[in-house]
């Protein structure tokens, strides 16, 4: 059975004063029905843009999807008319943004902001919409939803706002939800609650989920598969466990290094990721990680590594790891 979403080699570029920013430069991944995948990477590695590309919300005219295919439920979203695409948004695919305060309209009540989507896609009357909104708020665990539905965003706490965002996202029972770093702005205790909430809801509605995060730690628990992005490319992917336990790409390893791991005793000290990600306007020839990689071989400067199946269902794009062994095991 075909996956719900197939992203094929999309390139999303931004025109800026200073030049063309290749935010997403040929990324491919897929999501099965009911599956949760994670897009992982440092901020600015293009994971958010690749997600927005799915909804075709990369702010035109500056940002543009220059090539690629996004097959959702058998149809190429990039070929849809504006109108058809609009009907997709919120109804079939919805998104939870990372900054709930700025992502909610300050001058509209939470209720209205939840119900308006319903009014469009489920053509409910405003009053029905409000009832549904109340139900949804209850579902995402807002106390006294009947009262809170009339509140304005600034009257909600950070966590509650994010719950409201979730309510908006699930309002029309979409088949795919994109959660863009949903927990970065809330503190750790609430993080867990929210992620649990998202997981339960997706289970309940059998919705697919793209979880975007820079925290590999949570990935293992919530996602089935992980796609690691760096400088607009996917440099490694596989099942959450494989990637988590035996990363092939030095970058992934680095990311893991930046996560405290209680399950394994520390062996060799890992390299923390030093330096800055490359300038997306002027990408270097060869591997884009070269500058920060402790293990690079001359080849890294010449040619860009392609994703190779380094282990069953486990792919990585790294010249060193082509040698069937993890870079740091050379040492």
């Amino acid at each position: 059975m075909a996956p719900l979403l197939e992203v094929r080699n999309i390139k999303t570029y931004f025109n800026t004063q200073d030049g063309v920013v290749k935010a997403v430069d040929g990324v491919s991944y897929d999501v099965n029905r009911g599956e949760t995948i994670a897009l992982v990477g440092e901020s600015g590695c293009g994971k958010t843009v690749s997600a927005l590309s799915i909804l075709r919300l990369v702010g035109e005219p500056a940002g543009k999807i220059v090539s690629g295919e996004i097959i959702f439920d058998g149809i190429d979203l990039l070929k849809l008319s504006k109108e058809e695409m609009r009907k997709m948004r919120g109804a079939k695919i919805s998104i939870i943004f990372q900054e709930p305060l700025t992502s909610l309209n300050p001058v509209l009540t939470i209720g209205r902001q939840i119900s308006e989507g319903l009014e469009f896609h489920k053509n409910m009357s405003p009053s029905e919409g409000m009832e549904e909104a109340t139900r949804l708020l209850k579902m995402v665990g807002i106390p006294h939803p009947d009262r809170r539905v009339h509140d304005y965003p600034h009257q909600f706490s950070g966590g509650m706002r994010q719950r409201a965002m979730i309510a908006i996202a699930i309002a029309c029972q979409p088949q795919l939800i994109i959660a863009d770093e949903p927990t970065t702005v809330v503190d750790v205790t609430i993080q867990a609650q929210l992620l649990e909430l998202i997981r339960n809801i997706t289970k309940e509605l059998n919705t697919s989920l793209i979880l975007i995060t820079h925290n590999l730690g949570i990935v293992a628990r919530y996602a089935q598969r992980v796609f690691v992005m760096y400088a607009g490319n996917i440099i490694e992917y596989g099942t959450a466990l494989d990637v988590y336990h035996s990363p092939y790409h030095p970058y992934t390893a680095g990311l893991l290094g930046s996560v405290p791991r209680l399950d394994e005793p520390r062996k060799a000290r890992l390299q923390p990721i030093e330096g800055q990600p490359p300038d997306l306007i002027a990408l270097p020839v060869g591997c884009s990680f070269q500058a920060r990689c402790a293990y690079f071989v001359p080849q890294c400067l010449k040619e860009k590594p392609r994703l190779i199946e380094v282990a069953p269902k486990h792919f990585a794009a790294c010249w060193v790891s082509q040698k069937e062994l993890k870079p740091w095991q050379i040492l």
Binding site: N15, G19, P61, A62, I281, A282
Partner: protein
């Protein structure tokens, strides 16, 4: 902001990302703003070196050549007393620019301290000062100007003073707002923690950071002052003749509008041009200095 595709060539020399350097970089890119700025500079030079540009004096009457239309001898014609309009336009630029700029000195001179004190001190001081500002707001400024002018008499300094005295309110409010917002920021808190004195903090941290918006506001209020001067001259309470100002020239021209309309046209155009230049420059500066626009 212009989103012109730039190739790798000029990527190499990316701007330095300090506020001022960055602002200057962005301002240079804004053609309108630069055009405005250049016009203002040229006009100022023309005004300063007027005697070298035209050999006519602004008060030099030639009763044999009254209300003449533009000619080789008198490029923009002559006025009701046979004075060369072009010459008067040049010397008038002195007045208009002087009014536009020196008024700002007074405006800032009054508005900045009041705003700064109100913003920094806060509490009852702020309250009193802002109530004062409210009173100024609900005062019909034209009344104040006329009365002040009548008390002080008709000279250009009195004019600066009269206009300045009624238009400092906006700056005061702006500075206050700025300082209030910046005051809450960490580095100021830090400075205070390190035992920095109030005035020291105000001058070291608060003012520099609110400078951008102030510059922008001032740039916009220059044309306002020129406006005011023109309007007052139109009411006949402008600068002391025979000193020309574009306002008085419009006023004189208005008296002969049906017979020789260009008498009102040229100074009117001049004012409009100067205004537009300042507006463009102001826009440019705002876009350049506004931190929100920085990426």
């Amino acid at each position: 902001m212009a989103t012109n595709k730039t190739n790798a060539a000029n990527v190499s020399q990316r701007p330095v990302h300090t506020l001022w350097g960055d602002a200057w970089f962005r301002l240079r890119k804004n053609k309108l703003a630069m055009a405005g700025g250049i016009f203002i500079i040229l006009l100022s030079l023309a005004a300063i070196f007027a005697p070298f540009i035209t050999h006519y004096g602004f008060a030099q009457q030639d009763l044999t050549a009254i209300l003449q239309s533009p000619s080789a001898k008198h490029w923009l014609g002559t006025d009701g007393l046979g004075r060369d309009t072009f010459a008067r336009l040049l010397y008038g630029a002195r007045t208009s620019l002087a009014v536009g700029i020196f008024t700002q000195v007074i405006i800032v001179g009054i508005g900045l301290p009041i705003g700064a004190i109100a913003g920094y001190a806060g509490g009852s001081v702020d309250n009193i000062l802002m109530r004062f500002v409210d009173v100024m707001y609900s005062f019909p400024s034209i009344l104040l100007i006329i009365l002040i002018k009548a008390i002080l008499g008709g000279g250009i300094y009195q004019l600066f003073f009269a206009i300045g005295l009624v238009s400092w309110v906006d700056i005061a409010r702006l500075v206050r707002g700025q300082i209030m917002s910046i005051k809450s920021r960490d580095y100021v808190a830090a400075a205070r923690a390190m035992g920095g004195m109030g005035p020291y903090i105000t001058e070291r941290h608060l003012l520099p950071n609110s400078l951008g918006p102030i510059i922008v506001t001032v740039t916009f209020s220059v044309p306002q002052a020129i406006f005011a001067e023109a309007a007052l001259s139109f009411m006949g309470i402008g600068v002391r003749p025979p000193t020309p100002s574009w306002g008085t020239m419009i006023n004189d021209g208005y008296a002969v509008i049906f017979s020789s309309w260009y008498q009102v046209l040229f100074p009117a155009l001049a004012i409009a041009l100067l205004m537009i230049s300042f507006t463009f420059l102001g826009d440019g500066l705002r876009d350049a200095l506004d931190p929100k626009m920085r990426h």
